[in-house]
Amino acid sequence: MSLLAFFQWCEQSGIGAAIRRSSWLFPVIEAIHLLGLGMIGGAVLVVDMRLLGLGLRRQSLAQLARDAQRWLIGSLIVMIITGTLLFLSEAIKCYYHAAFWMKMASLFLAIVFTFTVQRKVTRAEEARMSPVWSKVVALVSVALWSGVGIGGRWIGFS
């Protein structure tokens, strides 16, 4: 099955069709998707700002990262469920939309980066971590997650 055929199959799925038929389902799912985005923003930013030396700084980074991670994973789950539903309702449009592919690439990179490189930094002993490296990691994280959010917003613009 080619990729396009898969997208067509998604578009023709019962769920996708049901969302398209309803005048309110898409907006409501999209609004929940937006709430999840805001929540991810908070969970990502408290940690990245800590790494940048902004915001919280007196507490251990490891503890803060653990606290934030729970909310990050929770909101990621909400995002993936609502995002999949939105996608099913307009898969063909997504296939031909550059913003969709940009978003998926950023999302993949953001998740991999957060749970590998960044996790290593937040769990390392802070005294041994170069401050420059911490800041670079934080900036990359903010950039990748911003790419996800803004890319997502641009799927809606034709």
């Binding site: 907006p27 937006l34 985005l37 929540m39 923003g41 990502v44 930013l45 917003r153």
Partner: protein, 179 residues
């Protein structure tokens, strides 16, 4: 206002409107995300080992920055479609809830937060603080939801007939002719 060249330019521009909306969404992550983290702290659901006053001192200035960007970008978005927004029921609900959220902030800061040093690390925060956190959480969630709904206005003045109550709430005057 809608007839000004500024409004028309923004409305018809290929990218300006989309860009401002992207800024609005980005600032939402900063403002809403950090405000939610603070509310969750007030409820005792996260960062319990960090004193409330510390979270407030370090995070709230950033929510203020986010809020300023939200207001500026929001005002620009409004200026592109002023009349439609003004008569939009979701826009009106959002503005009312913004006022309520502001009141909640004011009551919290002039009330229980003044004594924060006495409950900074309590395992269970005072009831007034939990109520403020919960109210804030619910209000901001509803504000984001209604903000998103402004773009899908099922109750637009041009989509008549609408129930009389809707036309009353949106100050619409249906002219009876078909559009």
């Amino acid at each position: 206002m809608g007839d000004s060249s500024w409004s028309t330019g923004l409305h018809e521009s290929r990218y300006a409107y989309d860009l401002i909306e992207s800024v609005h969404v980005w600032a939402l992550c900063l403002f809403f995300g950090l405000a939610v983290m603070f509310d969750l702290r007030l409820l005792g659901w996260t960062m319990r080992s960090i004193p409330v006053s510390e979270v407030a001192r370090r995070l709230l200035p950033w929510t203020a920055v986010g809020f300023v960007v939200m207001v500026i970008s929001g005002a620009l978005l409004f200026s592109a479609i002023p009349l439609r927004s003004y008569q939009n029921i979701f826009f009106r609900a959002k503005m009312i809830m913004l006022v309520l959220a502001g009141l909640n902030v004011w009551i919290f800061h002039s009330g229980v937060y003044r004594r924060v040093t006495t409950w900074d690390l309590d395992r269970i925060t005072p009831k007034a603080a939990r109520v403020a956190g919960a109210l804030s959480l619910v209000l901001w969630i509803c504000i984001v939801l209604s903000g998103r709904m402004i773009a899908y206005n099922w109750f637009d003045c041009d989509r008549q007939p609408q129930p009389a109550i809707i036309n009353f709430l949106t100050s619409c005057v249906p002219d009876g002719s078909d559009h």
